[in-house]
């Protein structure tokens, strides 16, 4: 029982990180209709920048958090302006391939700029262990779950009530009609990329806080895929919850079936889910005209 609870809690914590990155995917998908295959790499860059700030400027939590968020916004905006905006109006397949190309470039750039050794992000907190009913939990793990939940609420409200949120949904549904209605698609896309970069970046920084930075971190993006797919690509809330579900499944599979199963539990799960619901658990079915 103790073991099960331990697995569940650490599954929730890693799942919250997946959930944050998956929300990054979903925010971009919801407003631009694209899957951003460079999400894992963008997450990684934000985490590396946070680490650089913590070692060179100051290890203060506020400074690191502020710097990382600023860097993530900048990263999202630059990528949108330089790489994605010229592709506006091109077929989806071509644009998605551009993000794959971008992922390759970013990953090599990271290896080029930073070294290949693992680094721990130290901001003086987040690694202390709290006892909750006999189970050891790191404060960082509690913080990431709380962050995920509050961001979920905030984003739900944003898409539901704010004018910009509605505009984003309109652009995703049909960008030409949205343009005719006077919505600036470019501004919507820029906002989506910046927001997605920040949300996923927060996940990346939390990952660096609880585990370590390493060049293999881009795999977080691949791990968060199943979460996004599970929730449905266009469901931001679903992706966040999908992340938690994947994290728990993965940890239970790892704890009871062996480490090989841990690696693929998420992927096996989405194959099963997609067989039953081809658009994810919370995703909306596409209606096509011929």
């Amino acid at each position: 029982m103790q073991y099960l609870l331990q697995l569940l809690i650490s599954g929730l914590a890693i799942g919250a990180i997946y959930g944050l990155i998956a929300m990054g995917f979903a925010v971009i998908y919801k407003s631009t209709g694209l899957v951003n295959f460079a999400q894992g790499e963008m997450t990684m860059i934000t985490a590396y920048i946070a680490w650089t700030i913590s070692t060179t400027v100051s290890g203060n939590v506020v400074v690191v958090a502020f710097g990382a968020i600023l860097a993530a916004i900048l990263l999202g905006l630059v990528i949108e302006r330089v790489v994605m905006r010229p592709m506006l109006g091109e077929p989806v397949f071509a644009t998605v391939m551009v993000t794959i190309g971008l992922a390759v470039i970013l990953r090599s750039a990271i290896n080029f700029i930073w070294d290949a050794y693992p680094h721990g992000l130290d901001v003086g907190m987040g690694r202390d262990i709290v006892r909750l009913g006999g189970i050891g939990v790191r404060t960082g793990q509690i913080a990431v779950i709380a962050t995920l939940l509050s961001l979920l609420a905030a984003i739900w409200a944003f898409f539901r009530y704010s004018k910009m949120g509605v505009a984003m949904r309109a652009v995703a549904a049909d960008d030409r009609t949205a343009l005719l209605m006077g919505i600036s698609a470019t501004r919507v896309h820029a906002l989506a990329w910046a927001a997605s970069s920040v949300i996923a970046g927060i996940g990346g920084v939390f990952f660096a806080l609880s585990y370590d930075l390493s060049p293999a971190m881009f795999q977080l993006g691949l791990k968060a895929f199943p979460a996004t797919i599970l929730g449905g690509l266009d469901a931001v809330l679903g992706s966040g919850l999908g992340g938690l579900l994947i994290g728990i499944t993965e940890n239970l599979a790892g704890g009871y079936l062996g480490s090989g199963m841990k690696e693929i539990a998420g992927f096996a799960m989405i194959i099963v889910v997609l067989m039953i619901r081809p658009f994810g658990i919370f995703g909306e079915r596409d209606i096509e005209r011929v």
Binding site: V98, I100, V104, I105, S108, F112, F225, F267, I271, L274
Partner: protein, 348 residues
């Protein structure tokens, strides 16, 4: 005066090669390729081998992604299955290499049924991600089935001897690759001009419309998966033999992306494009290295220390630039040049 390239009969439309000059140049190219192993040095010959093996794999992916429009991000899964099937049959159970190649085709084809069948209801990106999941699952399966695959230790593979002919030397192995690549090219071209190929393209253009016109979507999508996996598996076996060692690390996820990059750079949905794209992508790092070394020794040094990173950055950059400026790929550029040549001095 000739005003265009008109096809007047159905036979002309589906002809494999539609004009005498193309016949001539194909023959010249074939002769050059046959002579190449005796002319090129060992270093250049490696590139020729890689190009021929990669062409086979790219043509395999082209059937699925280029013709049928089903995006696969997990084709490396079929590549690694083919390589392992060959290695296990030939190195472990000492079967003749021909049986090995047969297995390298059939095992991925069976695996493709397993991944294809659940994917029939999926479209676009959802399908891409299922294939991605498949390639990760297959890697874990290979690592876990230690009794069959030696797990992470891998299996070493010898160059084969088929029907008494030894393919041990580089030149002989190049001929083997050349033979398989040529047969694959002919096979894909023939598939494209048959009823099956037209069904594939109809599914790519609009699957609902194709279904309304009486094309059995499930059967043809599965057929595309099986054909594609079979060819890719053969390429995997060749690549395994080329590496002389089959392991999961020898087939990284990047290969899937490289294969898609080849198709896009060449021109999606065209066999010629797959060939041109392969040549460009395989030679790109080498060409860049040459240009760098021409300019200065210092740049060359940077290139050797960060070679791997710069190489992959180039991949990414080339993919993005092609999608941005020449979405129809090298084949599109070639068509433009040809049209400009024929119509000169008129625009069209």
């Amino acid at each position: 005066m000739r005003t265009g390239d008109y096809k007047q009969t159905y036979g002309e439309l589906v002809a494999l090669i539609d004009s005498p000059p193309v016949w001539l140049w194909s023959a010249v190219l074939m002769l050059a390729l046959i002579a190449a192993p005796h002319v090129l040095n060992a270093y250049a010959l490696t590139f020729l081998m890689i190009i021929l093996i990669t062409v086979t794999g790219a043509l395999g992916l082209n059937i699925l992604t280029g013709y049928t429009g089903l995006i696969s991000l997990g084709h490396v899964g079929f590549l690694v299955t083919g390589a392992y099937a060959y290695a296990i049959l030939v190195s472990k159970y000492h079967m003749p290499p021909l049986v090995g190649f047969l297995g390298a085709g059939l095992v991925p084809a069976l695996a493709s049924l397993v991944v294809g069948a659940p994917s029939l209801r999926l479209k676009g990106l959802y399908l891409a991600i299922t294939t991605l999941a498949f390639s990760f699952i297959i890697n874990t399966v290979i690592l876990e089935m230690r009794w069959l695959t030696n797990g992470a230790r891998g299996i070493s593979v010898q160059r084969p001897e088929i029907l008494g002919i030894s393919f041990d030397s580089d030149a002989a192995f190049t001929y083997l690759c050349l033979g398989i690549a040529t047969l694959t090219l002919l096979a894909t071209l023939n598939i494209r001009r048959s009823r099956v190929g037209r069904a594939f393209v109809a599914i790519r253009d609009n699957d609902t419309a194709a279904r309304v016109m009486g094309i059995n979507l499930h059967a043809y999508k599965l057929l595309a998966f099986v054909t594609s996996a079979l060819i890719t598996g053969l390429a995997g076996a060749l690549y395994g033999i080329y590496l002389s060692f089959v392991s999961v690390e020898g087939f990284p996820f990047l290969l899937s992306i490289e294969a898609l990059a080849i198709l896009i750079v060449g021109g999606l949905g065209s066999a010629l494009g797959a060939v041109l794209g392969t040549v460009l992508i395989v030679l790109l790092p080498e060409a860049t290295r040459l240009v760098f070394s021409l300019f200065s020794a210092q740049l060359d040094a940077v290139f050797t220390t960060g070679a791997q990173e710069l190489k992959s950055m180039l991949y990414g950059l080339v993919i993005i630039l092609f999608l941005r400026f020449q979405p129809r790929g090298l084949v599109g550029a070639w068509h433009d040049i040809r049209r400009a040549w024929v119509n000169w001095p008129l625009r069209y």
